[in-house]
Amino acid sequence: MSKVTLSTEFRKVDVDELDEEKYQDEPEGGDDSDSIASREAEVKKFISGGKNFEALKAALADPPLQTKDEKAKKRNFDIVLDVLTRFKQSDVEEAVNKLNSDQVDVLMKYIYRGFAEPTENSCGILLVWHQFAVASGGVGSIVRVLTSRQTV
């Protein structure tokens, strides 16, 4: 057998990429690392001012759904998780009730990401958030976390 046939380079070619009929998602968004940095500063400002709900709204606004950059998503997730864990259990219900249904859907996505990547002090408070998010958005909101291709 010749040496050439021992090459395994061809195995690394993603043949599905060459399929003309490959399913393509909606167009990709641009790079949002700048907007995430400015969001982080904004959220920090609200938190230091004691305005937890304003911080939550800022953290949930316009999440980086389209980007393929996992680092940007992770950074945004860390910002949201930081806000969620700062709430006292007794304040959660009021905060969720003030959100509109789109914001609850985004919140639910972050709650499930929080369950998927648990840290030491996040799970307890996330369960409280989950309880009130379900009370507000219903099971429909959970179904949308499962079906959406636009992950947070």
């Binding site: 009929e21 099971v139 429909g140 179904v143 949308r144 079906t147 959406s148 291709r149």
Partner: protein, 375 residues
């Protein structure tokens, strides 16, 4: 069993994949989740199994009964469709070559019954018509721009346009004008030029989640569709293509939707009960009510043993043997069809589901039973 505006028939223990009624509603056909088509007829006030049609070799996925002509068309996962004719004694099938390489998913007669459309997993809609000269059914394909399985179809009342729901998250309206057999169509709100296969409109519900079902309103000006992201959408084309109302609701996703009148839509799915939505002239889509009101269960005394057993096993304090739902259907509803019409729209509709039950709902009785309900 009947009462409370509904008539319940417990036909099977296995799921009913699909159902259809004949024109005068004296017979219906169902598939018991396999390759058979069962035809029921009413005798002595009871529905009796009359015929079993065994021509398909895989699971039957769709069927439709032409109300006037009386022909039954069925399609299945074996990639074939049959047109069945009844001679008074037996049903005889005629094979239709669909030219698809994946399972057929849905079949619908056009309103004039001169053609039918078959959706499939091959990302194709086959529009089939009868060629008199050659004495067979010919199929024409609508391919572009479908990117995934066609889940459901609905014909526009003008006999030319077809709406298709698709698992590529889109609902589309195509032209199904076959110039070989019919006159040139006149203009509708969906557009003027209708060469075969032309995309007249394309809609997305925005959030992802494949579209389960589409339905035209009685006039054909409105289109409703339901998605797996727990959403329901309606477009009023008379007001423009960007006049889309979408509601992301708080319930489990709907599998099926059906316009009853110009403003009311009945939808049902994984929640196991049908619900009513209304769409008004200001493009407001609102939830009206659950049509199958929860029935109060007679709660007997529980022994302490049963109570703790239930809490341990199923995290509830109701009896351990009580697993029935508070709805008429005991599992997901997969199909809604119109059973009877009156002057303004549908007056009765029929649902079947995974629990093997067939239920006929009477709109008038529901209106009087549920406060504030108006179809």
């Amino acid at each position: 069993m009947s009462g409370g505006g509904k008539e319940v028939h417990e036909l099977l223990t296995e799921p009913i994949t699909c159902h259809c009624w004949n024109g005068d509603r004296t017979k219906f056909a169902i598939s018991p989740n396999n390759n058979e088509v069962h035809i029921y007829t009413k005798s002595g006030g009871k529905w009796e199994l009359e015929h079993k049609l065994m021509e398909h070799t895989s699971r039957v996925t769709g069927m439709d009964w032409a109300p006037k002509g009386g022909s039954l068309v069925t399609c299945a996962a074996d990639r074939n469709a049959y047109v069945w004719k009844y001679d008074g004694k037996a049903w005889s099938p005629v094979l239709v070559i669909l030219r698809i390489n994946r399972a057929a998913t849905i079949v619908k007669w056009s309103p004039l019954e001169n053609k039918f459309a078959v959706g499939s997993g091959a990302r194709i809609i086959s529009v089939c018509y009868f060629d008199e000269q050659n004495d067979w059914w010919v199929s024409k394909h609508i391919k572009k721009p479908i990117r995934s399985t066609v889940t459901s179809l609905d014909w526009h009342p003008n006999n030319y346009l077809i709406a298709a729901s698709c698992s590529d998250f889109k609902a589309r309206v195509f032209s199904g004008y076959v110039k070989e057999i019919e006159e040139k169509p006149s203009e509708t709100v969906w557009g003027k030029k209708m060469p075969f296969g032309n995309v007249m409109a394309e809609f997305s519900n925005g959030g992802g989640g494949w579209v389960h079902d589409v339905s035209f309103s009685p006039s054909g000006d409105k289109l409703a569709w339901v998605g797996h992201d727990s959403s329901i959408s309606v477009v009023n084309m008379a007001a423009g293509a960007d006049c889309v109302a979408t509601v992301r609701h708080t319930y489990l996703p709907y599998i099926s939707c059906q316009f009853l009148t110009e403003s009311s839509i009945v939808a049902a799915g994984f929640d196991c009960y049908p619900v009513l939505w209304s769409h008004d002239d200001n493009n407001q889509l609102t939830f009206v009510n659950r049509l199958d009101q929860a029935e109060k269960k007679a709660s007997g005394q529980l022994s302490a043993m049963e109570k703790f057993k239930g809490m341990d096993k199923r995290a509830t304090t109701t009896g351990s043997s009580d697993t029935t739902l508070d709805s008429t259907h005991q599992n997901a509803i997969t199909q809604i069809s119109i059973f009877a019409k009156d002057g303004t729209g549908a007056s009765k509709f029929c649902t079947t589901g995974v629990d093997g039950r067939l239920v006929i709902w009477n709109c008038k009785s529901l209106e009087s039973a549920i406060a504030g309900l108006k179809f």
